[in-house]
Symmetry: D2
């Protein structure tokens, strides 16, 4: 009856133009048996969840506010933190690896916090540049790099 | 492909003498289709997860530290918050209802925060007394009261 | 040039009917050389700061939101946490001792968190009852009890 | 008796090689009437506080842990957050402006969070590069740029 926690990969970022890439990342992660963790809101976060669900995967939303109804429609489990932008730390820390897809200041903070905690951070083309993050040219490469470090 | 988030009920508390009650609460919640959320560590938290898994349920651990390996062995999903006792807010907020089983100061804080956020809080016999919490005499009554308010 | 940090006492609570008591607590703390820490908003928090300033003391506001302008008009220093109710932990932890004046759920959470961290907690008449808090019948007694444990 | 909160400037960063620059930044800020906010620990944080105290200024330490004694020896006021790396948000948010001196991942996170909240962020030579931060070639220029935006 003991559980085996599936590998968790956090997908972070923002920007409607990156939704296709995020959806592909989510789909590929689910196909590889990973749970997809995000900040639970829209755009890249929703797209990553949508892709994971399309492939039969599991999704976790870690919300900044106090209302669970803020989660996107593809979240299986909803963690309501109530701590605002500080939830970025929880998103970064909850992934065995982190994949950034697009994004701005919040994404930079998550990437830096993840690196600070020793997590592998993959920066898909279009993500902010943060020294220490591993660049990836495609969703497939991003997922491959993220999972390589989990073994 | 849209998800339907299962009702989430947080089980909080501490004290080895309350593990049997917590396990029963976890089992009953899982039988009713609820995901069991806890602070992810030992004693009451582990027992609630153990009971849920015995009934085929799903469990979420919301940890205070930065290391996912601190989660008990019955956690399906592990949220690593890194925010210490402030993660009590996330545990309280992530339940549609909260059931306290035993416990001390940390539990009081979680009960009060849950009440502050408008969550239903059930205090199983042995839990700290906090005005506004609904007392329950047994695990079955606690689960019944928690779920009654979810409808 | 090394500093000597003045004793810091956190004053917590809510309720307009407790403002007079809170103002007296703030005044007495300042007269005893203590810095008065609060959650930085209105009612009890503002009154404690007002009392401290009337006696020439120093005040620190620890705000839940992201906007420093939410601080009451008697705050000397403003800490903007952005973490919502989780800032209650910072308020509780930043006092060498904590005095509760009136209050509701948020106050209970702060009292419990302070006790969890080993801080002395004084409950002035009207404050919520939390086991482990030391009752005081008057502002003068509350301040006396808070400072006694600092020596 | 109403207070006028002095401008608060957060000085962030790490690295023993940047202590001289941080001390100069702290001194200049204090000379301009600013309160110096830091994360409260060593190296750059301690140096900024030391410089401010040498000029008769006021300093605030916002600590990650639960123990006030972790604060450096030049802190006038100590905020004990207990939320680990999430306290970076409070450090970033508590400055009207933020000056980065040296630093690594934690500093990047603070810079990004500060930018996310609309704070002016100055990157003194040696600080991590984050788009949106304003570069400064010297402590004097950094302070000038930080204060220019406060007017």
């Amino acid at each position: 009856m003991l559980t085996t926690v599936a590998p968790q990969v956090s997908v972070i970022g923002s920007g409607a133009e990156w939704e296709d890439a995020a959806e592909e990342v989510g789909r590929l992660l689910a196909e590889r048996g990973c749970t997809v963790v995000t900040g639970g809101l829209g755009e890249v976060m929703a797209a990553a969840h949508r892709g994971a669900k399309a492939a039969g995967g599991t999704t976790i939303a870690i919300l900044p506010g106090e209302d669970r109804n803020a989660a996107n429609a593809w979240a299986d489990h909803v963690v309501v933190t109530g701590i605002g932008h500080a939830r970025n730390l929880a998103v970064a820390a909850s992934g065995n690896a982190v994949i950034a897809v697009g994004g701005s200041y919040g994404t930079i903070a998550e990437m830096a916090l993840a690196l600070r905690l020793g997590r592998t951070v993959i920066a898909l083309a279009g993500a902010p540049e943060v020294a220490g993050a591993v660049p990836a040219a495609s969703p497939a490469e991003a997922v491959e790099l993220a999972l390589r470090d989990l073994r």
